[in-house]
């Protein structure tokens, strides 16, 4: 895994968001990595006691995961059509921490803010399609004790290679925090040349 660059978030927009939203914006050290084997990108935001990681997933990988679980082809193709990330959330603090995907927003190039589809919403769709599988997606919300962490897929209805921002929130020691990934990018349609 090669580190591409390291920077602190863009401070001015972040502070403006904080003032407007009345939520303390936590400045993250954001790192971007390129996987040398696959050429895929991942991003990690490191806040005091909290880290969040987004990892590009190829449509073919998504197909393999869901077909391997026996999901019907129409569901497999539906999932592979989404911009999908592996997401890892860690409580690295010595106190409780919580998050709710319903509080997260992705911001497209036109400046529009959109809610992130939750696992509960997906499970309702899957149930309508006759699927009982309820794993792989990032849980809607979790209460973490020290040392707890979780991973799962996050889905966005965006085309391959789309660049967007992601605003995320979490609660730490009873206080709501907010951070932003400035330039996440959906995985390409096919594996990049490496």
């Amino acid at each position: 895994m090669k580190r591409l660059f390291h920077h602190s978030g863009r401070i001015l927009p972040a502070l403006l968001l904080s003032v407007l939203g009345h939520i303390p914006h936590s400045i993250a050290a954001v790192e971007t990595f390129t996987d040398e084997a696959s050429g895929l990108l991942s991003w990690r935001a490191q806040h005091p006691g909290f880290s969040l990681q987004f990892i590009q997933l190829l449509p073919d990988y998504v197909r393999a995961v869901y077909s391997g679980r026996g999901l019907p082809p129409k569901v497999v193709e539906l999932m592979a059509g989404y911009c999908m990330f592996g997401t890892i959330i860690k409580n690295e603090s010595d106190g409780p921490l919580a998050y709710r995907v319903a509080d997260w927003r992705y911001i497209t190039a036109d400046g529009q803010s959109h809610p992130v589809k939750t696992k509960t919403q997906w499970l309702a769709d899957w149930q309508d399609m006759g699927v009982a599988f309820r794993w792989s997606l990032l849980p809607d919300d979790q209460q973490f004790a020290p040392g707890d962490w979780s991973q799962g897929f996050t889905t966005l209805p965006l085309a391959p290679d789309t660049v967007f921002k992601l605003k995320y929130q979490w609660t730490q020691q009873g206080e709501i925090h907010e951070g932003i990934f400035e330039d996440l990018r959906c995985a390409p349609a096919e594996a990049p040349d490496v």
Binding site: K90, S136, A145, G147, S150, Q151
Partner: protein
Amino acid sequence: MFDRCLALILVLCAPFGLLHAELPSPELSHELNRLATPVAAPDFSLEDLDGEQQALSDYHGKVIMLNFWATWCPPCRREIPSMESIYQDLGDKGFVVLGVNEFETPDHVFAYTGQLSVFPNFPILFDRDSKVSELYGVKGLPTTLLINKQGQVVYRAAGGRDFDHPEVRAIVSELLAEGDGGN
């Protein structure tokens, strides 16, 4: 037969990154979180790899590590050797590990365990419809619970752990040393 072949191909390909470079693996932590109030562990009965039914109550009086997992979950795979290690060392002292697999078939899991460098000797149970994980309020995999001799959930951990860590061993040993009647 086709299912078995497909399962074997997926099991063999995924770990070697033929389909995708696997998600980066964060270091496994070792903290187990003691519940403020122990909760009675609901009983259940599930099929094991041999097709036999095993109930949680079959293990009453033992200290139980109840681990919810799946083969496609990277941290689940990473913590298996540490579970096997602590099971080997403390299994004859009244400690048992129950690996509750989510939504997969015995054929698939059997093919998977055959590829592991450390074969899990602890019982693997099949929660094919995820009813048991729902019963225990499990939101993500892996999740691990420690159940004391009185059948109460006393520790919980979300996310992968190194169960071979001295602090985890100390917790399990402490639970093993407790009398059957008290906390």
